[in-house]
Subunit: 302 residues, 2 copies
């Protein structure tokens, strides 16, 4: 697919995740920090109106609106439906995008540390994850299953390559933590460095395989008929992202104090444990499977 | 002032602080847990509309609307202005309240642990703080300065006694943490137990004096002309609520990475450090002074 010419650094896809938004502001005043010699970098605040309102979104989650069918569906008329189409014009069009690569900066209330989320096994993208992890060994690789770039509904799928989410936590919505800000800044810098090395054919030797976590499914918190939550993430599970959950382990705690145990036979791993953003759909956590992620070939353009 | 006959347990004064709201629901199904023999307990969701919207407030912070002048000012017509007047009818009127004591359950994104906030040196109220701390020794006493109950703008000032805030953190807005839920439940139970002991003349021996923190002032984060924050709470200060801050200590970190030092001569202590709710007024933290809080006489009715 050739070299990378145009990279979009995006923040504020969720309007109350302030870290990426503050970094975009910082970089507009310090463009040298994100300038690289072999490609152009543009910065975009994805959902300014949700940011003004200090909300994740106004009408619907922007980061689920980029499926090719939805981008072409003009009966979808919510604010984020329209915003997605506008971003498709700006960065895409999805079928033949102007932008080569989108890096989207997110935060989570879950204790996920530095998580690198990607949806494709393309060597360029997997190579970016491995490279960033080489620089930041505490980073976790989070592989989400998406059928194809065109059917992917994330903003990062607008680029010619299916791009990359930097997801850092824990941090509450609507505030800046300096540690999370600095981590995100570092990770974004490494992503850009990697693309520069790629263009120059100078990507250092990367591991052939690394351990990561593959998304399996989301688990809902129990509710009563009135729609109110009747249980919470169990204290033993809270903050234990990427740790194993085995049959019989405490999973939820009802508001009356009874423990509900995890009842699957397969040991899985939690992620997005008690993410505030998922309360609108009563999701308590994601279950993940530990996997080996393969780098299928050398990501060497140049 | 005689015995306590009517107690209001309040949650959701800030609509995105879900802990108190979940406890109110739990207690409506388990009324025995908050029933006491010598007084009646009523439960109130203070700002249901903000809770539905998962916001702190719709128009203005409800917990600043209870100054006697504002309650009588009918030119104040925002949602929370009106809600305050409605609560004044329900619990007050402030000048001669129906309810004896209001206990209001709050959470904070700051690392304040179990904080007991009260605005008066009345022995009944100070006795409650000392009693709860006897049961929960990790609790911190937070004394806020208010001129008088009538001029106090907190919801808790609607009671005949100027009541009591249970403030627990850290927890992000818009989610439930089981540990914070259980802590809040315990503290509320101890408050009710104390009032029961008070009515029966059986309050155990309490310390004459305890160390606490007195509110001094709020400190704003720096902004640029566009109104955007240009600095964050310094990583060395983040999560260090109730720890000393002395001249020269790192205080803020600019988004460009420069440290701004604390420049006052007096060593003070932080609280509400990086509280998300205060970003609307760019407040980074509260400064507190360490003080001795005195129990001026035995809180013995009976």
């Amino acid at each position: 697919m050739g070299t990378i010419k145009q990279v979009a650094l995006v923040g504020g896809t969720h309007g109350n995740e302030l870290t990426g938004i503050a970094l975009l502001r910082h970089w507009r005043e310090h463009p040298d920090e994100i300038a690289r010699s072999s490609f152009a970098v543009e910065t975009h605040l994805a959902n300014p109106k949700a940011n003004q309102a200090n909300r994740r979104y106004l009408d619907q989650d922007l980061n689920r609106q980029f499926h090719i069918d939805d981008l072409g569906d003009f009966t979808l008329t919510g604010y984020e439906h329209n915003r997605a189409k506008a971003l498709n014009s700006l960065l895409g069009p999805k079928e033949d995008p102007r932008v080569d690569f989108v890096i989207d900066m997110h935060t989570t209330t879950a204790n996920m540390g530095m998580s690198l989320i990607f949806n494709t096994d393309d060597p360029l993208v997997v190579g970016m994850a491995f490279y960033v992890q080489q620089q930041m060994p505490h980073a976790t690789l989070f592989f989400d299953n998406m059928p194809s770039r065109l059917e992917d509904n994330f903003l990062t799928s607008l680029g010619r390559y299916n791009g990359f989410l930097i997801e850092v936590g824990p941090v509450p919505q609507g505030l800046l933590r300096a540690d999370i800000y600095l981590e995100t800044q570092q990770a974004a810098k490494h992503c850009l460095d990697y693309l520069e090395l790629y263009n120059k054919g100078e990507v250092p030797e990367l591991p052939k395989v690394r351990q990561g976590y593959q998304f399996v499914e989301k688990v809902k918190l129990p509710k009563n008929e009135a729609g109110d939550l009747t249980a919470m993430v169990h204290p033993n599970l809270q903050d234990k992202d990427y740790e194993p959950i085995s049959k019989g382990d405490p999973f939820f705690l009802t508001t009356s104090g009874e423990t509900i145990a995890y009842d699957r036979d397969e040991t899985l791993y939690g992620a997005f444990i008690n993410e505030a953003a998922y309360y609108d759909v009563s999701v308590g956590l994601s279950l993940m499977r530990k996997i080996d992620i393969e780098l299928k070939s050398e990501p060497a353009a140049g």
